[in-house]
């Protein structure tokens, strides 16, 4: 309805291959960026910035990472949190052990470390597929957490295994306010999301999708399966690694290996599935859904309790929350197995065709 596309024609391939090919989309995205970069830091309170938006962005980044691997390259992984842990601990150690290292360099190196670990655990993908591979990635999940706990070096021999992330310093400026951390996260996530979008729309991304959709055909047209699968593992893990580093540095401040547990891996996987497999946008939508839903339920619970004038047994609301969360996931999968991104897509198509139904 709001889309008025008549007259928006493409006179070159560069125009045709833009990420946002419709002018209205470009305007909307521009407005969204301005909103996120300018309005939100000015308007949002500390709770929103540090407890909701920052983790949301970080999880979106992790979801993009997993989406690259699972959504684009078709390799199911249950070890996302492990790669995040690698990133978090690597960034911590780089800053700790390399004096004067710029934080962004440490983040890049953290991403590379995660990528290397990703490649290592991606090796089985050359032989095995599907659930077998998924369960194999669980090995990464358990092994990494075990190793980080077991070897004190990783946590600088912290007695409790918990590491305190160092201050974020960029060009002498210390990022320590919620708004600052939010902007720091937002910038990294925005840049990496754009890079991911660029990757998936170029030959690398097409190779991933080709391998996902039909690996024999992919190899026959000259795509190297090993290189493609491992590159997906590497880049996916690097994204997760940077997300993990952000999780430690810009969000919690302190992390422990156990924090990066299977539950977290599942949560990121949920984000991908609910958001939309094979969609960068979906990663954001999914992250928003999974981050906000429990908070919403948790906030709504006492209000419902008061509103209904009921005295619920303790723990009732917590359990109910869990049930509702699980049920909503099942519901979503049943109603829109292709995720929120598909819903968005359908909605957009409808608006583009409005008033016609098709």
């Amino acid at each position: 309805m709001l889309y008025r596309e008549a007259g928006q024609f493409k006179a070159s391939y560069a125009e045709d291959q833009q990420i946002f090919a419709i002018r209205q989309d470009r305007i909307a995205v521009g407005a969204l960026l301005v909103f996120a970069f300018v309005v939100v830091p000015l308007v949002a309170n500390q709770y929103w910035l540090s407890a909701i938006l920052t983790p949301l962005l970080i999880f979106a980044l992790a979801a993009i990472g997993l989406n690259i691997l699972t959504g684009y390259a078709g390799q199911l992984s249950l070890g996302t949190a492990a790669f995040m842990a690698v990133g978090a601990f690597a960034a911590y150690n780089f800053v700790l052990r390399v004096p004067g290292i710029p934080i962004l360099v440490a983040f890049v190196l953290a991403g590379i470390c995660a990528a290397l670990v990703g490649i290592l655990f991606g090796l089985p993908s050359l032989r095995i597929k599907g659930f077998y591979l998924a369960v194999a990635t669980l090995a990464a999940q358990f092994f990494v957490v075990w190793a980080l706990t077991k070897f004190g070096w990783f946590s600088n021999n912290s007695s409790s295994g918990v590491i305190s992330a160092q201050k974020i310093e960029i060009l002498g400026y210390t990022v320590d306010t919620p708004a600052g951390k939010y902007l720091f996260t937002l910038t990294i996530v925005a840049v990496l999301a754009l890079a991911a979008k660029n990757l998936v729309r170029s030959s690398t991304g097409r190779a991933w999708m080709a391998v996902r959709d039909m690996d024999v055909a992919a190899s026959v047209i000259g795509i190297r399966l090993m290189q493609t699968k491992l590159s997906a593992f590497a880049i996916s893990s690097a994204y997760c690694g940077v997300a993990g580093a952000l999780y430690a540095f810009a969000y919690l401040g302190t992390v422990e290996p156990e924090g990066f547990n299977l539950d977290m891996s599942f949560r990121v996987l949920f984000m991908v599935i609910i958001g939309g497999v094979g969609s960068i946008l979906g990663s954001f939508l999914g992250a928003a859904f999974i981050v906000l839903l429990p908070i919403f339920l948790n906030t709504a619970a006492p209000l419902i309790e008061h509103g209904l004038g009921l005295q619920m047994p303790p723990g009732f609301m917590s359990n109910l929350e869990l049930i509702v969360f699980g049920a909503l996931i099942v519901f979503f999968l049943a109603v829109e197995p292709h995720g929120l991104a598909r819903l968005w897509q359908i909605g957009k198509e409808k608006l583009r065709l409005w008033p016609f139904p098709h």
């Binding site: 407890a51 075990w146 706990t149 409790s160 305190s164 302190t254 924090g259 908070i295 948790n298 006492p302």
Partner: protein, 438 residues
């Protein structure tokens, strides 16, 4: 239908709820967990704390006339959700959050800097960051009553007493069965130091999370044939350990658990295998204390109360919650002495905590003599006690078998100060000079 509409209205006013608090109230956030693997602990402890607070409200009309309010927030024992809960609740009430009991070491760590920045005291009783006992470096963190290192030295003391003196420890074999996590590993250095000091040998055997299977570990124990086993367990690991011990025939009365291994929830599932098992605790079980009776009288008799299963009242976890409640209320009371009987800010409560003294006499007044140890917090010492009692499971309930056993402060305190100094260096914190604190 009407109530449904009301609920919807309530939903629509999300966030606006804060304004509904009356002015003369002191807000205590309940950042806890009622689901998941550790729900037994969370529900018990928060049950006790909330019941105590409700009892104080009902019996005394609050603290100094200020009514205590609270709101529960589910963390699922998850750091991220814990931080979200903290952020959500820290500004609630007329003066913001009084203090926070994160009831999770991970969340405690995540909140240390946030609490310091937001001026909200973080109170971790029997968990959390051990070196935060050094109040000079951690002014806002209160690992009250006892910490893992302290209790561990107390355990060795206990073993020593059982063996007939600390000198008899020489040549003894102790196995430390621990949950293979940061939590479980935390006491390894202390044990090693003590082993060196007293000349016993210690073998550390990890049990991977969650600890459903310990066949291999107990077979190792059997092979080592230790004199004592220290159990540093968590959740399901505890009953399985006791069963494992039974399976290899290791006597249960030679197993000494930490307080997270010493609740009814840890022994009951093990059935008969738990009989004779000893655990340390900074609070005891039992419902005969006047304070518990008051809770029954003022709360449960009116049809309220947090415990669905009233048999859990007086259990270890429940009573631990009551201890949390007592500490919270007493800190508020102390702060009111200085700042007046009105809702107080976190900063004022911090002063109350730092100057908190709960003497034997006060405990008696509170109806909690013998229920918990006396407490004296100072700027230098945010632990304030450090003693534990040992209790033995007789197959039905925990029986106290010792008085308060104090820790080996000479060993622990330097370790704490060293660790805290390291933190101060890393974070560029100048420790306070406690002699200048009022």
């Amino acid at each position: 239908m009407k109530s449904f509409t009301k609920a919807l209205l309530g939903l629509a006013m999300l966030g606006a709820a804060a304004t509904t608090h009356a002015q003369n109230e002191q807000f205590v956030p309940m950042v806890g967990y009622w689901v998941g693997p550790y729900a037994a602990g969370g529900s018990g402890i928060f049950g006790g704390m909330i019941d105590y607070i409700n009892m104080v409200n009902a019996r005394d009309g609050g603290v100094g006339g200020v009514k205590l309010t609270y709101e529960k927030c589910e963390t699922e024992y998850n750091n991220a959700r814990g931080v979200e809960c903290y952020e959500r609740l820290k500004k609630k009430g007329p003066t913001g959050a009084t203090l926070v009991h994160p009831l999770s070491t991970g969340i405690t760590y995540s909140l240390i800097e946030k609490g310091t920045q937001d001026k909200v005291p973080i109170v971790s009783i029997g968990y959390g960051r051990t070196d935060a006992s050094d109040g000079r470096v951690f002014p806002w963190v209160f690992p009250l009553l006892t910490n893992y290192w302290s209790q561990n030295t107390a355990k060795i003391k206990f073993i020593g007493s059982k063996e007939g003196g600390m000198d008899k420890l020489k040549g003894k074999k102790i196995v430390n069965i621990y949950h293979d996590s940061a939590y479980g590993k935390e006491t390894i250095p202390v044990l090693d130091a003590q082993a060196k000091k007293y000349g016993f040998t210690v073998t550390h055997i990890p049990v991977p999370h969650p600890g459903n299977e310990q066949g291999a570990q107990w077979l190792q124990v059997r092979q080592i044939k230790p004199d004592w086993v220290i159990l540093r367990g968590w959740g399901v690991m505890n009953p399985v350990a006791l069963k494992g011990a039974a399976k290899v025939g290791f006597p249960r009365d030679r197993i000494i658990g930490v307080w997270w291994s010493g609740a009814e929830e840890d022994t009951i599932p093990a059935g008969d295998a738990a009989k004779g098992y000893i655990a340390a605790g900074f609070n005891v079980a039992g419902s005969n204390f006047p304070v518990i009776q008051d809770i029954k009288k003022y709360v449960y008799a009116k049809g309220k109360g947090e415990m669905e299963d009233p048999t859990r009242i007086g259990s270890i976890y429940y009573n631990r919650g009551v201890v949390h409640g007592i500490v919270t209320v007493e800190a508020i009371r102390k702060a009111q002495e200085k700042y007046g009987k009105k809702p107080l800010t976190g900063e004022q409560i911090r002063w109350g905590l730092e100057n908190l003294t709960i003497s034997e006499a006060r405990l008696k007044e509170l109806g909690a003599a013998g229920f918990m140890q006396p407490l004296k917090v100072s700027c230098l010492d945010h632990e304030g006690g450090g003693a534990v009692k040992f209790q033995q499971w007789d197959g039905k309930e925990w029986k106290v078998i010792t008085d308060w056993i104090t820790p080996d402060r000479d060993l622990v305190r330097p370790m704490i100060e060293q660790s805290a100094a390291g933190y101060a260096k890393e974070k560029n914190i100048t420790p306070r000079d406690c002699s200048k604190e009022s």
